[in-house]
């Protein structure tokens, strides 16, 4: 398993033939997982610009997204997973519609991964489901010895923040590598992967002293740039929600129409 710490470094990785896991913990991929698992939304279309999102709005899509962490003017929704969790309950939004989403970092990471064999969406909220999916896939698409030329393998693509690596996405990458540990062909590959794994394991070992299995990652998440930014913007509850682990048992996958829907399992 390789890790790309930010979309600004994706040119260093071969995408062809790979299973790419896109992660943007704060908050796009946490939103996508919550939207598809916790409401009746059927599909989410990632788009790169506000204008494109507005044009999908005219076709009946729910318009969602942010710029600089703030909901875009005129959009139906911002970029809060808690908003998605509330959909279909007291919400005025018609969840039989699809969603078009544009965010500062997450959409970019998805759209920069399009050359991959398959793109799935990861967050702490569906970490175990993603790990299980990867383990099954790795048996169906075993890594070949000539991988460097033919592709194959898994790449975790961290969305980062405006091209910079960030703490929470790197932690997720480490947690996913850790969750797949012991499966042949899913070893950490390259220094960025080792770096992510060591970072995550450092949190685990702190926590193991307190005799728990899954570490509480909220303190380090709150110390991150983006965590602090969200708290400043009044979204501390989002930070806590996004760091919850294994709340949902689905794997969102990009389909041939450029929309993300729940991947069939089993």
């Amino acid at each position: 398993m390789e890790v790309c710490l930010t979309p600004d470094l994706i040119h260093q990785h071969r995408l062809e033939g790979k299973l790419v896991v896109v992660v943007d913990i704060f908050r796009a991929t946490s939103c996508i997982v919550t939207g598809l698992a916790g409401s009746h939304i059927q599909a989410i279309r990632p788009v790169s610009t506000v204008e494109e999102c507005l044009s999908y709005g005219q076709k009946g899509y729910i318009m969602a997204g942010e710029r600089g962490g703030i909901q875009v003017d005129g959009f139906d929704m911002g970029n809060s997973p808690l908003e998605y969790a509330r959909l279909g309950k007291n919400s005025a939004i018609d969840t039989s519609q699809k969603v078009a989403i544009t965010t500062t970092n997450g959409s970019t990471a998805i759209l920069k991964s399009l050359a991959a064999r398959e793109i799935i969406i990861g967050a702490f909220l569906n970490l175990r489901a993603v790990a299980d999916y990867i383990i099954v896939q790795s048996r169906q698409h075993p890594l070949r010895k000539d991988d460097s030329t033919t592709g194959g393998g898994v790449l975790i693509h961290c969305a980062g923040w405006e091209g910079r690596p960030n703490l929470e996405d790197t932690l997720f990458a480490g947690a996913l590598i850790d969750a797949c540990a012991g499966t042949q062909g899913l070893e950490a590959c390259g220094d960025s992967a080792l770096l992510a794994r060591e970072l995550y394991r450092a949190q685990t070992s702190h926590h193991l002293q307190n005799a728990c299995v899954n570490p509480d990652l909220r303190p380090v998440a709150l110390e991150s740039d983006h965590g602090k930014r969200l708290v400043r913007l009044g979204h501390a509850d989002d930070v806590h929600f996004c760091m919850e682990r294994d709340k949902y048992d689905i794997v969102p996958k990009l389909n041939g129409e450029g929309e993300i829907a729940v991947a069939p399992t089993g």
Copy 2:
């Protein structure tokens, strides 16, 4: 203290007004520190191309450097700090000459830092000396509140490997942040700095269980891409040498003529 994990991300950082510490543990900055501290070499000129290095060779410079970890054909020296440590002993090389050096990653990081107020060279070999230098400098150039627009502060610029982040340079960045901890204005700033600090501290805490103060970073260094590559090329002794801590008490600094010499202290 900010951290840039690779020269491919340096455009995300403001250099003006900053003290930049360039690090390329394997092996350019370890060579520079060893060359200036352990032999009689007066100055080392980093250049970007083999051709440029050859042209300095015609002016009497010692030509040093590598491509892909291997000494360039026709050069006087490769890129091994142990070679520099032997200079002036049984070596046929005249150490009254200056050195022109070109390497895959280290020279690039130095030359991409030129807009900084000051560029110094860091390695585990001179870690404490660099930390002390930074602490003294931070008193002379205190960080101002309007730092984001006027510059100031310290940036650790990791050379990485062909634009990719690497483990050993990131570990050094974390070790340097840790060594400056407690000094006002030298706190970790940004997620890359937090990431480096946490990575380093994870090694420390493993080691503290064995009741030593400075962690033995050789095992993790040998697991890194570049560590493994050097072992394959027969340079395991270089890996061990580069991970030695505080062997030399000098701080190399780039001067106005584009050459690196020992910075005056005190």
